[in-house]
């Protein structure tokens, strides 16, 4: 578990949201950092072949839709970032699922 802006966030909550979205792959990574006094949470997800569109707007809409669904469950804003396939760590361990830049 990590605490972001005073809210408990479990990676399993993020996973439970992502598995319900067919366009999203199996792998994700949470990166928490600070922007001034505020915590900022980014959830990185990989592009899949079925997600990939020639219309960039469709991909940006996917990011927004995933962000909205994460907010509904986590109760805080999460910025969603699409990344290239195969670039996120293939591990279920928390150390790789969560990168907490606030502690560095």
């Amino acid at each position: 578990m990590i605490v972001v802006r005073g809210v408990n966030v479990f990676p399993s909550q993020v996973e439970s949201v992502l598995v319900k979205i067919p366009e999203v792959g199996d792998h994700f990574q949470i990166v928490v950092d600070r922007a001034g006094p505020l915590d900022v949470m980014v959830v990185k997800i990989e592009v899949t072949e079925s997600t990939l569109s020639d219309r960039i707007g469709a991909l940006m809409q996917l990011e927004e839709r995933v962000g909205e669904q994460l907010r509904d469950v986590l109760l805080i804003n999460a910025k969603v970032e699409l990344v290239e396939r195969g670039t996120l760590p293939r591990s279920s361990g928390k150390s790789q699922k969560v990168i907490d830049m606030r502690q560095i």
């Binding site: 020639d54 960039i56 970032e81």
Partner: protein, 143 residues
Amino acid sequence: MRTVTNKLLKQITLFAENKPGRLASATKILSENGINARAFTIADSGEFGIIRFVVDDADASLRHLRRAGFSVSETKVIGLEIPDTPGVLFEISRALSDYDINIDYAYAYTSATPNKAILILQASDLKKAVGLLTKLEFHLIES
């Protein structure tokens, strides 16, 4: 039987994070496999980009880029050989507009044929757009 799909071009769409070297990595794969990119365009969102290629061998491009780990897909687009003269783009865009067809994106390059240009375009209704442009006697390029 000839279908609308026969009159469309294959375009390769490649997803790339917005960082140095991604275009170089992708084009290196094409280069090493003797594939010529006839036209390309990049659309970017800030954090990532979509690189769209029209190449001389779309199937081989997909295969090699996938094998190299890239996220790629094939899309059908309209390729038009048009006179390289003023007013042609206006004529095409007005015709599509008159039939309520939206151009989602477009890019162009000059043709090897003298005084001709190639216009690649993606439309909100490809079937309707192909029908209209065929009726207007534009030369559609096929893959």
